[in-house]
Symmetry: C2
């Protein structure tokens, strides 16, 4: 069959290559560079401490009735803000036919607004540097951590709360100010958020960029060093960094991309998950007191309220609800070198708040305390292998905080643990698959494939220098 189209003349339009071949090399060069052109890694702790001293922060627990602007809605008991914006805490009923937990009820955060998590990058001395911000969040361990250049809900940057402008936001919302290197909607904690996603962006600035207080330029190599320290690089930074177009260091993979996508499709199809929003009032298994909504058995998490005093946020003080998990989480990839190529064992996870049934999570993602009453086959798979791993097998380990704007002291121990055929065979059980970091990097160009904990681990993996 011959083409029936004819070419029509078009002025001076020029086609582009579909992929920018140079960008992966530029990312790799920044990752290999541990000497920043602007702020040395050695000087970083002092800089962060100075930023801490420049502001006052104070977070206090308060009873629900001391919340300003927040109240339990008539009829549903949902915890809502009077503006109708920000977020609300509602009830969710999840059924998962054939799952380990066939049905449950839980409070969930509904935040339909899509925010922007954006890192501005720019070359200094021929090396890409990332503009990071020292930012206070009420739920973060240490309060002050390193956030993306911009971390803004739509309420933030459209000024629903009448605070100050969001610095550098123009690079992410106005064409012509920069060149996009990554831009994708990624899910966040499906166990605590209903269908939440944020726009993860990396934008290379065109022209000079003014440097404001609380901001610093760092190479990927420097950020990689900071990712080895506890509670320095916040969750929003980690998820954006995971979306950087790193080169694929491997020559292939155990499964081709088509096989991997087919397996993901099969996993999505085989799980029968259904969710229904229900009133927070009378949620089975949960109870509300003056200062907490929690479970009768004391597991998982509770909903609490805090008041925040701060000098470096867009407004100087506010109150808000937070989710406070019980216990320290564990998120780990088992890793293996297969035929000279590093692979990690992903788990197709069902979380009630995911938009599309499953996403690929870490091999292990649990809060061990929630399972301490179980033994034998009741134990979450691979959890004990990770907990028992000796230093000879642990390739990466650090504590990181989850989203400090919504979660209070939600800390997890993130690990990369080397496995062998005995603990983690090449042909894994249903729901698990060995994939390369390069394959994960391809998947994170799109939403709904890789969950936020696995994205943190992907960023950590790049920080070890082993992934690319």
């Amino acid at each position: 069959m011959s083409a029936t189209f004819v070419t029509t003349a078009v002025g001076q339009t020029a086609l582009q290559a579909r992929e920018d071949a140079a960008i992966a090399d530029r990312i790799a060069r920044s990752a290999a560079s541990t000497a920043g052109a602007q702020l040395s890694t050695e000087a970083f702790p002092d800089w962060l401490e100075e930023r801490r001293r420049a502001h006052r922060f104070r977070v206090d627990r308060i009873p629900f009735d001391a919340l300003e602007g927040w109240s339990f809605e008539e009829g549903t008991g949902n915890l809502v803000h009077r503006s109708g914006r920000f977020f609300s805490v509602e009830g969710l009923h999840v059924t998962h036919e054939g799952g380990a937990f066939p049905q449950w009820h839980q409070p969930i955060i509904k935040q339909p607004e899509i925010g922007i998590l954006g890192i501005l990058v720019k070359e200094f001395d021929g090396v890409l540097h990332f503009l990071m911000q020292a930012k206070m969040e009420p739920g973060n361990r240490n309060l002050l951590q390193l956030s993306p250049t911009v971390q803004a809900t739509r309420s933030n940057y459209t000024k629903v709360h009448e605070g100050a402008d969001v610095k550098y936001i123009e690079y992410f919302v106005r064409p012509g100010k920069g060149r996009v290197l990554a831009d994708v909607l990624q899910s966040e904690h499906g166990s605590w958020f209903l269908h939440k996603s944020n726009r993860n962006m990396i934008v290379e600035a065109v022209g000079d960029v003014p440097l404001h207080d609380d901001f610093c330029w760092l190479t990927l190599g420097q950020i990689g060093e900071l990712l080895h320290r506890d509670n320095v690089v916040n969750m929003d930074s980690r998820t954006v960094l995971a979306c950087a177009p790193f080169p694929d260091a491997a020559t292939g993979a155990l499964h081709s991309d088509t096989e991997l996508l087919s397996w993901i499709t099969a996993e999505r199809s085989r799980h029968d998950v259904s969710t229904r929003r229900v009133p927070l009032d009378g949620l089975p298994g949960w109870q509300r007191s003056e200062d907490a909504i929690d479970r009768e058995d004391g597991r998982y998490f509770r909903v609490v309220a805090v008041s925040v005093q701060a000098g470096s946020r867009e407004v100087s003080g506010w109150t808000q609800p937070l989710f406070e998990p019980y216990g320290l989480g564990v998120a780990a990839f088992l890793t293996r070198w297969i035929d000279g190529a590093l692979h990690v064992l992903v788990h197709a996870r069902v979380e009630g708040g995911f938009l599309d049934t499953i996403e690929l999570g870490p091999t292990v993602q649990y809060t061990p305390d929630n399972y301490s009453h179980l033994d034998g086959d009741g134990r979450p798979r691979y959890l004990d292998e990770v907990l028992a791993a000796g230093p000879d097998r642990i390739r990466y380990e650090a504590l990181h905080s989850e989203e400090g704007g919504r979660f209070l002291n939600a800390e997890s121990r993130y690990l990369l643990v080397e496995a062998d055929e005995e603990t983690a065979p090449i042909d894994p059980p249903a729901g698990y698959r060995w994939v390369t970091p390069g394959q994960l990097t391809s998947l994170v160009r799109h939403g709904h494939y890789v969950n936020v904990q696995a994205r943190t681990l992907l960023a950590c993996l790049h920080a070890t220098g082993a992934g690319a």
Copy 2:
């Protein structure tokens, strides 16, 4: 930073290339081949007519109270099946802040089960042939059309309705019977289905394949010729064909893939769409009579019931509801050759039933009758350009039926219409973008990017030989 991982020995595992470089060429060879090894295109009409004569089909409209197994649910008035399976007709309330229609109510089909639409392929004389089925569907124009090898809801192949086995299903659900060439969950009509998606699969058979009655092997080139005829290739075939890994004929594109993904992300973020399931009873603007649920103004579609007598389906007779649209739809891509590369103008469309706000649709996707009362700025964009296009600009045109298992006489005129700078500038209005067929082929490897009408047009575009 140096790699802290060490290589552990693994038996005889061999890595694969992430992409199979040969497959695109094999698809192109099949598309270029109009001489089938098994059934000639000239003999096809007689074969189809013979299949028609081998069965009896009869579809009659019936009142709702003559439906067997279906009833209006107490309390909600939703139209449901007593098994709780198949699908249900419920109400939906959609709000789209800032949209042309800021809010509306409508009946919608809820069908949470994921079905399989699968085409089995196999080489004859070195050319890939596709195993197609002559299949009756009650809502299809002509009733009998060419469907994929397998077109089965989970109820079908798990035998909820106690019919016969689904032929060839083992190639799509059992490992080792074939090699997957494409496997992706794709959405269907977001205006009529709530969050529906089906698994679109192309599997290359390992070993001999028995040929059953009602099935025939055709090359892509032959199917391309049939796609030029009205109402021969059904919707399920068209969407699966669109997922075939065609080669990219262009050397580049107006926008790089990263820019395109960024634009899609921005479009998803800027639309504020919220949907809520509501009872079908008392749905504002809609009324129920003995044999139809329709709008007071007679627009859009109505819900009706039919009885079906058939000899070639898994069961020999049944009754079911169908959605019956008013008027003939129009779905068209405006096309332009830009710098020697064919581009089509996609539209980021909001449809109430989409899982994720927007998907890329055709430039024009409307039922003109629904808009005949509007003029000037009220007219849907580009509709009049398509309706007025003369034969000198129409590069492809055919009538095709939508999903005949759920829709009655839902026919659309599918067109590819060549445009110029005056009618469709390179720099299009908000919500529109020029993309290459190669870029669409990359996007359809993943779900929720390209809607079902645009996938039909992608298949038609390949049928013209212009896309690859």
